[in-house]
Each structure stands twice: as structure tokens, then as C-alpha cells.
Amino acid sequence: MASAPSKLYADDVSLVVVLLDTNPFFWSSSSLSFSQFLSHVLAFLNAILTLNQLNQVVVIATGYNSCDYVFDSSSDLNRSFENGRMPVMCSSLLQKLEEFLIKDEQLSKEEPEGKIKSSLFSGSLSMALCYIQRVFRSGALHPHPRILCLQGSPDGPEQYVAIMNAIFSAQRSSVPIDSCYLGSQNSAFLQQASYITAGVHHKPQNLDGLFQYLMTIFATDLHSRSFIHLPKPVGVDFRASSVFGQAQSEAASASDKKRKTPET
């Protein structure tokens, strides 16, 4: 039987689950290169771990063909407090990320041209929520979890139902979903996610300064957000994706068959 927890979880201890978009179709056409992006993100993750000794970081890679965990700061392998130095997390994260990318590429199949090349955001969001539920189950004392989505890929309309389910589940468990959109268009899914779960959404104008955006907006723990001025939602795009058009053939016998005529 493990000894009673001697740590005291203060209000500002956070668990940040970072969903990292690794979609090669997006990164090949982005102004910021993937390696530069990683350097910003790694510095940001180290900073979060420095803010409070009890902070935890989990990274899930959102690929084009699959999603997987690539880093967990609370796992034994990553804990090395020798000589009071910071835990060395870069090498293990990068190594696992590289293995993930290789595996992801091997799973590629021939896709027809013209399809929206979206990443599997709903999968990594669901995995993040399962991990957070595990943290809730671990006892009365736990860090306050939140999810940070670093997405650049466009929204995939086929994921609308799954993403909305995940958003409502996060809302129910009071887990804010912050989102930082790195692409060129706007992402309605990310805006809705942050609006409904009371998270923060931001689209940085200058990607070269991504680290500064991440530190000033997304590093704040949940308790301190009541004192700090963070970007407010303006004009959230609530248009429902045309899910019924796609899913009608599958679910023709299952739906209530109520349809809506949106009047906007």
C-alpha cells in the first residue's frame, strides 16, 4: 500500500494535456517549419514544468492516420531529479515523436485528390479525456487538468459529431479546452470547443513569436485565469456541419428524422 500523499496540491497546480498536430500535409505548406514549431513547444513545455514542481505535462500526437501518446512527465522514465537539475525531457519526447511519425507514414494509403487533409483531432481529444478521467479517479488530490490543442490542419467535417461529443463530455467534467490555431483559415471546431468549455482560443498573427503567445496566453493555470486578461471569444462560428447529409445513408432508420431549416 503506497504511503499517504505528502504533496499538497495547491490551486495553481496544473496538468496540461497537449495535442500536437503532426499532419504532414499541413506542415509541408506552413510558413513555420515543424522543427521550429517543436523548439517553441518544447521550451513552452519545460516552462510549464518549471512554473510549479507538481505540474504535469502529457503530449499526444495527432497524426494523419493515427494518434498516440508521446510523452508523460509523470512516468518514472522521465523523472530524474539528480543534482537538482531539471528533468531532461526533450530527448525522450523527440525520440517517441519520431517513432510515431514513421509509423504514421507507414499507415498511409492512397487518398483521392481534393479531400480535406484533416488530422485525427477527435481521436486525440478522446484519448486526452480518458487520461483526464484517470487522473480524476486517482483520488481527491490531483492537479487541475486542462487540454491545449495546437492545431493547424483544417476541420474535417466527418469528425463533427465525435468532436461535439468530446466537447460536451469535457464541459460536463469542467475541463477547459484551450486552442491555438496555427493554420491560415479559421477553425470553427476549435472556436466552439473553447467557447463551450470556457477555455481560451487564439490564432497567433505572427508564428515566429509562437513561444511568446504560448507563454502569455496558455501557460496560465486555471486558478489564476480569474485575475488575468485573456483573449475573449468574439463571433464564435456556430454553424453546424452538414453531418446529416453525409450520415443520412448510414443512419436513415435511426434518426428522429427531424431536420432543421436554419434561418440566419
Binding site: 481521436g123 484519448m127 435511426a254
Partner: protein, 413 residues
């Protein structure tokens, strides 16, 4: 997770002494207290927190919960998503009985509040009304509406019990109200019945047939004992009848009515329903709000048809009657239309098979699936993506998340 043990502890201690004095023999239900002694299977850890020794019991209780959720996601059947539900609460003398602590009506009121919140969470487009039966007469406590707070506040004020109960009067009243609602709505009644009799002015069988013709689905949850008339009513109208054994069982039964029920086949016609999706008004704009009839600043919704201002969604526009919703409200019901398949249990023969490479961690939460002795522990597998999940993730995925992380993490061509 000791729900079973907890239930017995509540009533056991006090009632044992009484029954021993009154009649020498122990009834069957009392013998379970003396024979099983479930409280002895508890253990304290060094913090003084309770934990059960028996992990098997824990596993079984999880498994039972899983089976419960299995039955609800069994088949893809048409469901009524726009529901108009009347809750009929029996405030007769029998509701002040104290076999449920502190009294039946207190337990009913507490769980009706939980139910109303859960109902509006799962069915944001639906509406609820409350009817009470007191002194043999049925009164409408709140009109059918979509705001949970107004129903709960009204209910908490009027909890005095007296007189007889009358099932027919309640059904007549509800029938009158439900006949006024639009045809695309699903009409339901949930009766929380504490009495063992009903004092009716006429022939209740006629009323039951009238309800059946009006396509009203009546369900009853009894708190006393099973009654033929309730059973007959539910059978005729296609509802469910259940009798609560104790408080936690009552809570389970009432929350079973929160997810949408299957629609009655010949009555569920596909319709086009007009709904409006209002824009949020700009901050700082001043307009007269149509629900409070006073000027308000900013933060409201403008009806797309008549431009009247409403304070909250979902609602019906006071001026033109258009149903106003936002797309997340509709999206909240989508998981009923696209349910995920229940996960299969990993059989022990499969676990012991050395040829099978077992996944060591749950795919969802990365928790180890191995027992402390490095043997494979209980796990479930998704029939579509073949990923392994732990039991807790299984419950979370089917009850709250409604997405399989494994299926969503694979690209389907």
C-alpha cells in the same frame, strides 16, 4: 464502489432491533443482514478511508454497470428526441411515509431535481411540466417549459402531502395538456406513485384507452408495491413500470428515463420542423427583452424571423413562436443517433494464450492492464478497432464520451 453494502448498512442497524422485538422470526430480507455481514468486508487504510478487501466484488459491480449500459446501446432504433414530459408526483398521505429516509416525498423531491437537470442536459430541445396529485385532485404545478430552475423552485415550495391519490384525474389533466403540443413532439408522462390505491371519479380503463389513442407514453415508478393498474397502464401505452426497493435504486430507476426512449413505430412520423438559429447580440447593444419585458444591455439573442430579443437558449420566441436553438443544443443529442458498439470482454482463454501479443496499457488512459503480479487483468476490447481498454475507460466511454478513442484514431478510407 460498495453500493450494495452501503444500501444494507443504511436500513439494517435500526430495523434489526425492532423486528426482533415485534416478531421472533427473521424475515428473509433480514437474514441477509445477519448472514452476510457485508460491513465486515470493509477495511480502513491508514488515512481512515474505507476500501473493500474484495476486488472481485469491485470488478463485478463494474461489470454490472457495464451490462446496464449495454442494454441501452443495444440496437439502432428510432428515438424521440423532442420530448414533452409531464412528471406526475403523488402528494397523497402515502407520500409522507417514512420508509424512505427522511420521508418518501423528500427523497422524491431530491431525485426529481437531479432528474430534471439530467433530462435537460441529455434532451436540450425538450420540455417538462410538473403535475401533483393531492386530496384526490390533480393540479398543474408548472406549465410545460424548458427552464430547469423554474420547475425545481416551484416543486421545492409545494411538498405538503395529504389526502388520497387519483390516477385518473392526473391522466385526464395531462391528456388535456399534451393534446395541445405539436405533433412532432413525443408525449410522455412519468408518474411517481407512492400510494397503494387510487380514488377515481369514473372508469380509469377509458382514460387509459384515451391516453393510448393520444399516443402518450406513460411510465410509472412505484415506491410502495406493485399495482395492477399501473402495470396495465404502462403495458397499454408502451411505457415502463418499475418499483423502487430503496433510495439508490429509486435514483437509478428515475435516471433511466433521462435518455430518449424508443419511439412508438406507427406514431413516429418524419416531419420537417422549423427552427431558428439566432445570432448573439453585440456587447453593449441595448434592447427590450421579450421574456422580462424590460430594457437590457448586450448579451442576448435575436430571433431571426421577428428580431425580438431573447435572454437564453433554447426557448420559444415570445413574439412569433419560432423555436430558437443553437447548434450545440442539437449536437448534444447526436450521440443517440450514432451510438457506439458496446465493447467485448477479453475472455480468460484469450488472456492466457501465449501466442496473442497482449496490449500492456489501456489505449485510452495508458493505465497498465496488468495485475500487480504481472498477470493480465480484466480488460475490454472494441470490436471494430481491436484496441484494449480498461474497465473504467469502458464505463466512461459508453456513459459520457460516446466516442471510441481507438476507432477515432484510425483513418478509414
Amino acid at each position: 464502489m460498495n453500493n450494495g453494502a452501503g444500501r444494507r448498512i443504511n436500513g439494517g442497524a435500526e430495523e434489526d432491533d425492532d423486528e426482533d422485538d415485534v416478531n421472533g422470526d427473521l424475515d428473509a430480507w433480514e437474514r441477509t443482514y445477519t448472514d452476510e455481514r457485508s460491513w465486515e468486508s470493509l477495511q480502513e487504510d491508514e488515512l481512515g478511508m474505507l476500501r473493500p478487501i474484495d476486488n472481485q466484488a469491485l470488478y463485478h459491480s463494474q461489470y454490472r454497470r457495464r451490462l446496464g449500459s449495454l442494454s441501452s446501446t443495444a440496437a439502432r432504433i428510432q428515438k424521440g428526441l423532442i420530448r414533452y414530459l409531464y412528471i406526475v408526483i403523488d402528494l397523497s398521505r402515502a407520500a409522507s411515509e417514512m420508509d424512505f429516509r427522511p420521508s418518501r416525498i423528500a427523497v422524491i423531491a431530491k431525485h426529481v431535481e437531479t432528474f430534471i437537470r439530467e433530462f435537460f442536459y441529455q434532451n436540450p430541445l425538450s420540455q417538462v411540466g410538473i403535475v401533483t396529485i393531492k386530496d384526490g385532485v390533480a393540479h398543474c404545478l408548472t406549465d410545460i417549459g424548458g427552464s430547469p430552475e423554474s420547475h425545481i423552485n416551484a416543486l421545492m415550495k409545494k411538498l405538503e402531502c395529504s389526502g388520497d391519490s387519483s390516477l385518473q384525474n392526473a391522466l385526464d389533466l395531462v391528456d388535456g395538456y399534451l393534446n395541445q403540443i405539436p405533433s412532432y413532439g413525443h408525449r410522455e408522462v412519468l408518474i411517481l406513485y407512492s400510494a397503494l390505491s387510487t380514488c377515481d371519479p369514473g372508469d380509469i380503463m377509458d382514460t387509459i384507452q384515451k391516453c393510448r389513442k393520444s399516443k402518450i407514453r406513460c411510465s410509472v415508478i412505484g415506491l410502495a408495491a406493485e399495482m395492477f393498474i399501473c402495470k396495465h397502464l404502462c403495458q397499454e401505452t408502451g411505457g415502463t413500470y418499475s418499483v423502487a426497493l430503496d433510495e439508490s435504486h429509486f435514483k437509478e430507476l428515475i435516471l433511466e428515463h433521462a435518455p430518449p426512449p424508443p419511439a412508438i413505430a406507427e406514431f413516429a412520423v418524419a416531419n420537417l420542423i422549423k427552427m431558428g438559429f439566432p445570432q448573439r447580440a453585440a456587447e453593449g447593444s441595448i434592447s427590450i427583452c421579450s421574456c422580462h419585458k424590460e430594457a437590457k444591455v448586450g448579451a442576448g439573442y435575436t430571433c431571426p424571423r421577428c428580431k425580438a430579443r431573447a435572454c437564453e437558449l433554447p426557448t420559444e420566441c415570445c413574439v412569433c413562436g419560432l423555436t430558437l436553438v443553437s447548434s450545440p443544443h442539437l449536437a448534444r443529442s447526436y450521440h443517440h443517433l450514432f451510438p457506439i458498439a458496446p465493447f467485448d470482454e477479453v475472455t480468460s482463454s484469450h488472456l492466457n494464450n501465449p501466442n496473442c501479443k497482449l496490449q500492456r496499457n489501456c489505449f485510452g488512459c495508458q493505465q497498465s492492464l496488468l495485475d500487480p503480479g504481472n498477470k493480465p487483468g480484466p480488460a475490454v476490447v472494441c470490436p471494430k478497432c481491436k484496441r484494449y481498454f480498461c474497465l473504467d475507460c469502458d464505463i466512461y466511454i459508453h456513459e459520457s464520451l460516446h466516442n471510441c478513442p481507438g476507432c477515432d484514431s484510425l483513418r478509414h478510407s
